[in-house]
């Protein structure tokens, strides 16, 4: 039960994050199929039945698959990689869930999915090495604080630049910070206490 509860965040994030695929499905159908040529209500409305069926496919298969991936498969993999903190395991799914918000804010579906995937990947890569809930040793804490301060500064700066672009920059900052931290190799010493 506890494991199930821990997976909820990742599951919900994974499911919500895949919702922009609905737009991808509709756009893809528009590129591949043409509206019906024979007279009827569909031809009148220039409606593509294939787009409806692809949307149904996304809802019935891809969204549950994404929820399963971020709720079970990825957390399991992270747990095996010594990521003991529950947030570490849910974080990629929650980050992926941001694509739903980005998409609804007006960002194209492809871009929102790409950004959220990048964020989820970054967090998964980082999470496989550290536990965000665990306290690192003192010298590492300073580095972590530095990272967080930089991320916060980026966030504030990006907020001033407008919503979609702000998030772009935030993810860029997070990715850069994580990469930088990794390069410093201090990350190896951030082991969970307990």
């Amino acid at each position: 039960m506890a494991a199930g509860l821990r997976a909820v965040g990742g599951t919900i994030g994974g499911a919500l994050g895949a919702v922009p695929l609905l737009s991808v499905a509709r756009e893809t159908a528009g590129h591949i199929w043409t509206p019906p040529g024979l007279p009827g209500a569909l031809a009148e409305a220039r409606d593509l039945k294939a787009a409806t069926y692809l949307e149904a496919f996304v809802l019935l298969f891809l969204i549950p698959a994404s929820a399963f991936f971020f709720g079970v498969i990825l957390p399991g993999w992270l747990a095996r990689r010594d990521g003991r903190g529950p947030l570490v395991r849910s974080a990629p799914g929650l980050a992926f869930g941001i694509s739903f918000w980005l998409w609804r804010s007006g960002l194209p579906s492809g871009a929102s999915l790409a950004l959220a995937s990048l964020a989820a990947l970054t967090l998964a890569a980082a999470g496989s090495r550290l536990s965000l809930y665990a306290l690192p040793p003192m010298e590492s804490r300073e580095a972590l604080a530095g990272l967080l301060v930089r991320a916060a500064a980026w966030t504030i700066a990006c907020r001033c630049a407008g919503a979609p672009r702000a998030l772009w920059l935030l993810f860029l900052a997070c990715g850069a910070a994580a990469a930088q931290a990794r390069l410093r190799s201090r990350i190896e010493s951030w082991r969970p206490i307990a």
């Binding site: 997976a7 209500a41 409305a45 787009a51 409806t52 019935l60 969204i63 609804r104």
Partner: protein
Amino acid sequence: MKPEIRRSVSAGLALVACAAAILAPPRVGRWLLLLAGALLQIETTARRFSASGRVVGLGLLALLLACGWTLYYQPGAPVDLFEDGQALGPASEYLQGARPYLDTYPVHGWGADGGFDALAFRTVGPSLQTHRLRRAAVTALALTALALCAYSLFESIRWAAVALTASLCFCPFVSERQALALGALALLLRAARREAPVLWLWAGVVSGAALFFSLDFGLIALAAGLSAGLALWLLAKRDEGRPALCGALWLSGGAALGALPFLAILARERALGAFFRVSFREIPVLVSETWGLPAGSAALAVRETPLWKFPLVLATGEGVPALFPLLTLAAAVTILLFRAASGPLTSTDRAAAVAVAFSGVALRGMLGRADAGHYSLYGIFVGLPAAWLLYRARRAPLVAAVLLLGLSAPLHPRATLLLEWQAIQASRPARDASLEEGSRVPRGGGARLPRAQAEELHALRRYFDEQLSPRETFFDFGNEPGLYFFLERRCPVRYAAVPLYEPPDRQHEVVAALERNRTPLAILSSGTWLDAFDGVSNRRRAPLVAAYLDVHYTPVAVVAGRTIGRRNPGG
């Protein structure tokens, strides 16, 4: 006799008495209801009521069968010359030697579009009454099969009641076309629960036969059964220490067995090739293009609707009516995946996998012609996964409460049950009144039609009998294939309605048939909404045929609202 068995028998008898009370005349019915009440009263006041088992089950099924019969047997109701005509017209053709798929075009399936009626006509005699008796019996069986599905999913009467209610919320009044598919589903659910090869085989037999009764529902049963069988087999293989039964293989074998007699008949009629061509190549393409209705965009609905308004959109189905069933199924698929990941599936979960697969495949019909009727027709299966979601949440009261609220808002279970109850109560008075006030029609048998409609048919019959010799016929361009049955004339083309011959090659085929038969009369328009399905007129749907009729037929009369054209001399 053990007390439990005695109570079961009493409860079963009480239910059968209830069923008989519904069917019997009111004077007898009252006594039967009293008897049922007394029996139930005795048992419920017993210290421990433990009525269960097959007797109670059979009693409940008898009760549902009686409810179905009284609901669907209405011999005095108006006839739908398009909907009913799609069965009556071809049935009349089969009686005169027409071959299926060569001389007719059964878009819903051979049996549903006249094949089954032709069999009944040969046995009892061709009349509207025979058609209505046959249809009421099959539809009542469909309702019973739905209850069996609900029971087979949980094997608990209480949860079966929940599942049945949920299914009726999607489809308050079942259709005869669902009957065999529901029978196949009940067998599949039981097969998945018990992992019994013989049940998979029987499910296959029923699915195979369903293909020839109602094509789309047969395909749904086969596709869902095969995919669920394969998935369960893979899961069972993964879980160590359990025998892996490949239900899909048994189902395929059963389907071949079920289809064999029908294939043999078609081969004898030299219509085998036409059956495969029409059923699997032509109809799927044609139906989607000419009969399809826009289902709305889920992407647009999810993206543009404010989050606070989203539950309202789900409850009302505004914009995308299918969004609620889609999300219900998505939730069920996700939970099934989680449960499969955490270990072997329980028997109820295995049955739920079948129910989800069935509902998922049936969505194609719901999304294809996206109107309220087809939402009900194909959405009926979603009730089972919805009930399973509640079943899974039963140990978490908060989740169950939220889920119950979420499901109740769009499904309206109380209103549905009230509607069913009122319909059952009103069916007998409605039947008596319609029979008393209705009029006889040619080929009606014991059935009646409302006076106005009967007068229309009499007027048409008089006109056509005066104008045509017994061997001559007419062409209907008004989408009323039922007229061929009531006027006892052969249809000069194999298509029952204009949207079926929209492709230019088929319009040429119709024109060639008219040229060959030189039918003296043609109904140029019906004067009803049937002249323009979905707002698109017959003339726009089949312009080549319309042009031919314009050139070769001159309007000469309007009879009962129908514009009738006579073939030009020498034309």
